[in-house]
Symmetry: C2
Subunit: 261 residues, 2 copies
């Protein structure tokens, strides 16, 4: 058994952000998690809506947003401004002493602009390093960090960064110091054998089963990068990962997918 | 002589925020200030511009913004998102370890919704208390806090708050622990005897002179709430206040108005 203190890291997706009642319920449940905790939130549809309302045409390639200068302004104001501060204010109302961060704040997450051979993703950053020392200082001071999906290159440039990846990189960095459980919360009850059947949750997933299910094409395209990300985190020291509906945070008997090596 | 450590608190107005070159120069100079420092920024014209671009009609009474629900969303995204994160990223590039905050973050500035007998200001907050303990922890950890003009009521409601007032309240709170110099930086070289003549800077202002100049109507309307604010801060423990152009931060021989009791 490890003597490390526990940190519960939770990533919530856009579908929770977009539903005011769901978000409120989630933040109330999240606040009740005992011990140290960290939250990472996605952006939801607000950025797309705002972009359209000021006349921008959002572009996506393989589920990743193409972020030109105008779109970067929008995601910064929506992710780091509107959503992050709304989440922080609601957590404060739930007596969780949250502070909202982009990766630029405290140089907590430094990234570098993606340099792709064929696609210009624009102002998109791939995580380079996490300032674990400062993050630990904040956590030990009783702070619950709330991260949005914005990072920076330490040269003055803000960058849009995938929220799943931020959660995974934070979990890896924190696992040097803490015993980390990473929870990906989304609208489904877990990883499904049959994507059309919500009752077909795979309760326990390991590398062997994952390999088998990939061979059998039982796990489809969208889930593959997510699970690759998970196994990467586990290989780098994260103790446990769960994927499922956010009610798993409240009720330990809720079915979800637990991933371990 | 006090044995307290020094904190330099700087408030920059909208005219610096709105000019990319001025802002860059200011942030470079600010980064060179030795010792502990804190920055408070206004909103500039970006919020008004964004509000107009999504079809809102900004309303002001006596220089204070009327903040309905839609306008609150705009100021939160512009002040706490776009401007705050841009400033933080640039300070990081200047090797200043900045973290951007709204008052909701860490419950650093709690306010209450203004209840005015005749004017409904909407979601506007008057500062109630500053979390000095956490602010001190952050400053001692080597962090340079960067505050935008958004606070919260600790019940989940974000509130728009005057940036000059935030600077003043932070200065008062910090003066319990530090020797605080508060610097209001704007486009003018200081408080002027003649508002049309930039060479007429009043170099030293005290309560007696202020009272005399008010009686003589030499100090005009817009400057009165600003100076009342200053004397309130001085009466509550702030050691020194300066009003002037931001180049006074870099060059100590720059003319400006120094206010002491």
């Amino acid at each position: 058994m490890s003597n490390k203190k526990i940190v519960t890291l939770v990533k919530i997706g856009g579908n929770i952000i977009d539903d005011a009642n769901e978000l409120q319920q989630f933040l109330s449940d999240f606040s009740k998690i005992e011990g140290h905790k960290v939250l990472v939130h996605g952006g939801g549809k607000s950025a797309t809506k705002m972009a359209k309302s000021i006349g921008l045409v959002p572009q996506m390639i393989d589920g990743r947003r193409i972020t030109d200068a105008a779109m970067l302004e929008v995601v910064v104001m929506i992710y780091a401004g509107q959503i992050n501060k709304e989440v922080v204010a609601q957590l404060q109302a739930n007596n969780t002493n949250a502070i909202g961060f982009s990766g630029a704040d405290g140089n907590l997450i430094q990234s570098e602009k993606r340099n792709h051979p064929t696609i210009d993703y624009g102002f998109v950053g791939d995580v380079k390093k996490v300032n674990t020392t400062l993050l630990q200082t904040l956590i030990e001071a009783g702070i619950t960090p709330v991260f949005c999906a914005i990072t920076h290159d330490k040269k003055g440039q803000l960058l849009n960064t995938n929220a799943d990846t931020i959660a995974s990189e934070l979990a890896i960095a924190l696992s040097e110091v803490y015993e980390v459980t990473l929870n990906y919360c989304f609208e489904k009850p877990g990883v499904l054998f049959d994507s059309e059947d919500d009752s077909s949750v795979i309760a326990n997933m390991n590398a062997e089963l994952y390999s088998k299910l990939k061979d059998e094409k039982a796990i489809h395209s969208g889930m593959i990068p997510k699970l690759d990300n998970c196994f990467n985190s586990l290989n780098k020291g994260v103790q446990k990962i769960r994927i499922g509906h956010h009610k798993m945070l409240k009720n330990t008997e809720t079915i979800c997918t637990t991933i371990q090596l």
